[in-house]
């Protein structure tokens, strides 16, 4: 049952020569063969390339290289279909990229390869990361490994489902308004959105450049801390990357919460929360208190504006970023009599409904006569939302909330009503607007059917150490992270 181990347990086994990198990869591939027909987390897997990487890792291990030098040596890690991996397909869950093959590696892929990881697979997602369920993928809907009649969350639904189903030891996704934390919560794994600028976005296909951040999915907090450490750091190829040293996130896992102050957000304690989610999060807060942290109420008075602000800023940035899909430089093309017609036909045929909806909304809020009323106003409200967090963090070290208002919903339940789908991101969205760090970890299950519930922890800008310390202390005092889904 190699595929059930955590990443850290696997590296220990490899270090003790109890298993090889090839065996670790084969355990993932066998699990994919066994369950991916049901879960459908992967769009494709280049087995030959993955096997060659694993064999190369085994050679290094035989030559005496250890995980002390390369912390991910021999560990299979899978990628969301939005990250460039040289020589591999990249589609962003869309038809418009056609047979695109990445000409280079994203910086995070380089970091992982340098750390010895076996980087493999293309994980399903909502088209261009726009969605909360993977139902907007142009290829297929990924299903929740805890209940395959339900969605895994999104947009990084393939990332979360594959980690929970034991098809990889960790995966890498992106989070623009909750696209890592929400699926992690709904699939019962750990997902981290680092502080804006902490991880290089070079090689990540841009959705909303001022909000996008790359982060890991893992089976426990230690793995998440380790992987965040590998992914982080200044990169001259990303002009928004912040030149700040990366501390030891694994070293921050002391288990000690004494003196830590945790905030509960007054504005989040209003109606609409599922009673089982409410009960699980309340119990988690009590547990955190019993571990020595002090819990106080904080106020984020502009929270009610977060979803509206997000859907102006994110769509405006998307309308500009996705202008590059023109049918000329790469991807699919539908011919036209002139370049304008070629552009419009290609984009009309190549983009799915949600992407069209958002590009059109973003174009509208930026258009002449509406810019001030929508986009500029949203940027000002963004300042208020960010200031709310900075004020709250004068009083507390971290904020705790539910990750999502409900557990995983049924396939099709919200697909017809985009606004309802947007409102399911209510707890995760403001973190990206403020640029702070956040994560989700398991804090319980609903009774029937048994579905995971996620606890969200929000930290100060570059406050990952405190966030991980809190998450790890809580996790280790519970058994939630050791629960495995039926197909896992």
């Amino acid at each position: 049952m190699l595929h059930r181990l955590t990443l850290s347990e696997l590296t220990q086994r490899i270090a003790r020569r109890e298993c090889s990198a090839v065996e670790a990869l084969e355990s993932c591939l066998a699990q994919i063969d066994r369950v991916d027909g049901q879960v459908k987390a992967f769009l494709s897997v280049d087995r030959e390339d993955a096997r060659a990487q694993a064999a190369a890792a085994d050679k290094e291990i035989a030559a005496g290289r250890s995980s002390a030098e390369k912390p991910l040596l021999g560990v299979p890690v899978a990628l969301k279909d939005v990250l460039a991996h040289k020589g591999q397909p990249l589609n962003c869950g869309s038809r418009i990229l056609g047979k695109f093959v990445s000409p280079y590696d994203a910086t995070v892929v380089t970091h992982m390869k340098d750390a010895g990881a076996v980087v493999f697979g293309r994980l399903n997602m909502d088209e261009f990361a726009m969605g909360s369920s993977t139902e907007n993928s142009a290829f297929h809907t990924t299903l929740n490994p805890w209940d395959t009649t339900r969605i895994p969350g999104g947009s990084s639904g393939g990332c979360a489902a594959s980690v929970s189903a034991g098809e990889c030891f960790a995966s890498i996704g992106s989070d623009t308004g909750g696209s890592i934390r929400q699926p992690a919560a709904l699939c019962g794994c750990v997902g981290v959105k680092p502080t804006y600028g902490r991880v290089s976005r070079f090689g990540l296909v841009a959705f909303a450049s001022s909000l996008d951040q790359i982060g890991p999915f893992t089976r426990d907090v230690r793995d998440a801390a380790l992987l965040t450490q590998v992914l982080s750091g200044y990169d001259r190829r990303d002009s928004t990357s912040i030149p700040q040293a990366v501390p030891s996130y694994v070293g921050s896992l002391t288990g000690d919460l004494r003196g830590m102050k945790i905030g509960l957000v007054k504005e989040f304690m209003v109606g609409g929360l599922d009673p089982e989610v409410d009960a699980a999060v309340t119990a988690a807060v009590r547990q955190i208190q019993s571990l020595g942290a002090e819990v106080v109420e904080v106020s984020l008075p502009h929270s009610e504006y977060a979803v509206a602000t997000y859907y102006i800023i994110a769509t405006a940035e998307a309308s500009a970023n996705l202008a590059r899909f023109d049918g000329i430089r790469y991807g699919a093309r539908v011919d036209g009599a002139d370049p304008m017609e070629l552009n419009s036909r290609t984009r009309g045929a190549g983009f799915g409904p949600e992407v069209k909806r958002r590009i059109i909304l973003g174009t509208y809020v930026l258009s002449s006569g509406y810019y001030d009323a929508y986009y500029l106003r949203a940027q000002k409200v963004r300042t208020l939302i960010r200031n709310d967090f900075l004020n709250a963090f004068e009083k507390v070290d971290a904020i705790v909330s539910p990750t999502t208002p409900t557990a995983a919903f049924k396939v099709g339940e919200k697909a017809a009503d985009p606004l309802q789908m947007y409102l399911s991101d209510i707890f995760t969205i403001s973190c990206n607007l403020a640029g702070i760090c956040g994560m989700s970890l398991p804090c319980g299950f609903t009774a029937s059917p048994k579905l995971p519930i996620g606890l969200q922890i929000l930290g100060k800008p570059f406050g990952e150490e405190t966030m991980f310390r809190l998450a790890h202390a809580y996790e280790q005092s519970t058994g939630w992270h050791r629960e495995r889904c039926p197909v896992g």
Binding site: Y305, G331, P339, T363, L419
Partner: protein, 93 residues
């Protein structure tokens, strides 16, 4: 939103829509826009806009030539290319 014209905005966005799509998107976007109207009640007087959570200014690198994708690599994913160039429909008669 009475003045929201989906046909016009889709043209600005260079997305060809079928009449069906136009109708569906128009009504969905109408709902989303009325939700977004909420922002009008926020008091933003005297508030500076935020474009980036951590704005870095004048990020440059030394003006030195570095290796980049070759012409062949840059064209490899193009739907149509010839003689080292992208092919587009005629622009001038």
């Amino acid at each position: 939103m009475s003045d929201f014209n989906v046909h016009y905005v889709a043209k600005l966005a260079r997305i060809a829509l079928s009449p069906d799509e136009e109708e569906r998107l128009g009504s969905q976007l109408g709902n989303i826009l009325s939700y977004i109207e909420k922002l009008k009640s926020a008091d933003v007087s005297g508030v500076e806009p935020t474009a980036h959570a951590f704005p870095l200014l004048n990020v440059t690198r030394p003006d030195v030539v570095e290796t980049s994708l070759t012409n062949e690599e840059a064209l490899r994913n193009a739907p149509s290319h010839t003689g080292g160039l992208f092919v587009v429909p005629n622009i001038l008669e």
